[in-house]
């Protein structure tokens, strides 16, 4: 089904359960089983390490003695556009992990457009604000582990997953809250493209595009283990994202152990109905958290952050709300 057709037919598809039973052997969603916490962060200067640690702990994320990999979103760098996860957010989460007793914290990314890791996790500006115990790894240039494709939406039999991702005890996804000119929104699920090394997939990861961006997102969502998600919505990107859009201050971090619940909630904050975002709806076949009834919102009142992201005309059909 083409995206435009889908948008026209959303009334029929509004209920994710229309796609069938949940699969995967994972937690079966029942109403209000996916905690999502909204943390107010008016600007990047505010230190929220303690608050993040408290939320992760209350969500049951056990980090003591664990190898933790933080996966931010670095695509490319522009002086005026908030394309990437802000370094302050990465640092706060990394330090929160240390606070919770993680044995090792690594910030790793396989940036999608730029080969030069100076524009990604090896940027001196990021390293300067990180505790010396936190390592930064350029996942584009390194070893990979072959993992079978558990999704089957693409024709790819397996993925070459960056070895540090495969070997981490805990993976925490740290995407940016952005619109996407091909998919509508890019959040936690789309962020997993950056777990695949460029030396295998290229810059951009065109093999995934040829196999279908939506299908690749869904396959990676079933294949890559992610234990926690924090969406950087302090300043998001609206309009022609994920590269060419404009800054959209929202002032929120969205935290959840459940990727789809985080994405659905972030979408609602952006003014988009996640049940009109095709890949999110299809992800709901095997992940919980799409429907409002599956999400237990905590922290700040979501009405405080709810807004309307500008978007390309093709995606205006995704708009909805008020949701809160």
């Amino acid at each position: 089904m083409k995206r435009r057709d889908f948008l026209k037919g959303t009334a029929v598809l509004a209920n994710a359960a229309a796609f069938g039973k949940f699969r995967d052997g994972g937690p079966q969603p029942t109403p209000a089983t996916c905690p999502v916490t909204l943390l107010s962060v008016p600007d990047y200067g505010r230190d929220v390490e303690k608050e993040i640690a408290a939320v992760m702990s209350s969500d049951g994320l056990a980090l003591k003695g664990k190898k933790v990999l933080l996966k931010p979103n670095f695509v490319e760098t522009h002086p005026e556009r908030p394309i990437n996860t802000n370094p302050a957010v990465i640092a706060h989460v990394a330090h929160a992990c240390l606070r919770l007793g993680a044995a090792q914290v690594v910030v790793g990314e396989a940036s999608g457009h730029r080969r030069d890791p100076w524009f990604s996790v090896l940027n001196p500006g990021l390293r300067a604000i990180l505790d010396k115990r936190v390592k930064c790894l350029d996942l584009n240039h390194g070893d990979a582990t072959v993992v079978p494709n558990r999704g089957g939406q693409t024709r790819l039999p397996a993925f070459y997953l960056a070895r540090p991702v495969a070997e981490a005890d805990v993976v925490i996804s740290l995407p940016k809250m952005k619109t996407h000119h091909g998919m509508g929104v890019t959040l936690c699920l789309k962020n997993l493209f950056g777990t695949l090394p460029g030396i295998y997939y290229g810059w951009p990861k065109n093999l995934l595009h040829w196999n279908g961006i939506k299908e690749s997102i869904l396959d990676l969502a079933r294949t890559v283990r992610v234990h926690y998600n924090i969406v950087d919505g302090v300043v998001g990107m609206e309009g022609d994202g994920p590269i060419m859009g404009k800054a959209k201050p929202v002032g929120v971090l969205v935290l959840s152990p459940f990727s789809l619940a985080a994405d659905a909630t972030a979408s609602r904050i952006m003014g988009f109905d996640p049940r009109k975002v095709l890949y999110l709806v299809q992800a709901a076949q095997f992940l919980p958290g799409l429907r409002p009834g599956e999400v237990a919102l905590r922290g700040e009142n979501p009405r405080r952050f709810a807004t309307q992201f500008d978007c390309l005309d093709d995606f205006k059909g995704m708009r909805g709300g008020p949701f809160f």
Binding site: R115, D116, W118, D143, V146, I199, Y200, W203, P204, H209
Partner: protein, 300 residues
Amino acid sequence: MGTGNGMRYNNSLTMSAIELAPLVRRLTSLIIPGGGVPYYPGGGPSAEPSLLGLLALSACGVPSESAKPLLSWVAGLQNPDGSLGVHPGHRDQGIWLTAPSAVVFHKYGLTGARDSALGFVTSLKSVTVANDPNVRQDNTIVGWPWVRGTFGWVEPTAWSVIALNVCGLGGHARAVEGRRFLLDRQIPSGGWNYGNPGLNDRELLPFWDTTGLALLALGGQPDVGRVRPSLDLLERNQGKIGSLCGLAWAALGLEGYGRNSTEIGRRLSAVMNDQPDDMLNAAHFAAGLIALSGRKVFIS
């Protein structure tokens, strides 16, 4: 076996063998016993840093006998069809590395391996698609892909054109079309990124590394005017480039055209000398060494 380390540029960037020696020692210290150079210290051996490492050793005048174990390791990565993989465990992945391998085999006189690699390079074609009015580029031009069966991009196309140029096949129809591809993907105000000059009537940003590499691929062409905006871009931004990767490839691009690269050479040398181990990307370090050697490795 001769290294044929190439003519020297006449510019102020070039460092003497004595000045280069500590940097060469640092590169050779990264070679893993048994062969191969990892991207980062402590990692597994990979093709790209090994290939660029070999070119750097050659450019810096290291005797080919000293490079022989590394060369043997690289030659052992070649597949029967002439392609080269990312490392021995994943030989079918990273076929874009075949082009730089042809340059290495040529420089070290491994003609059989070179010809096999060139055969693969000339047979590998990017997929084309219909032109899109929202994208400022000609999608029907054939270049080279990162991965078989996908679209063409600047870096693998530039490497393939360089390989054909260096190996005396600059007049090959694929090289001619490859240069056309690169010129088409040049951002109008100067530079290249991964391969999209603009979107929806807006230019995208150039990258220093791909700009330098594409300039090298287009080096020696009579119509320098076509790439002047990119040369000007690099020249006027010398002081803004901060990364080892960006400095190395920008320096190579500028010196390939005899442009002023004094500032960039000074910064490159400083960055290479100060590079901490955990940030030391051996492929970028080797590219920096090639730039500082002043040898014409990528332009025939």
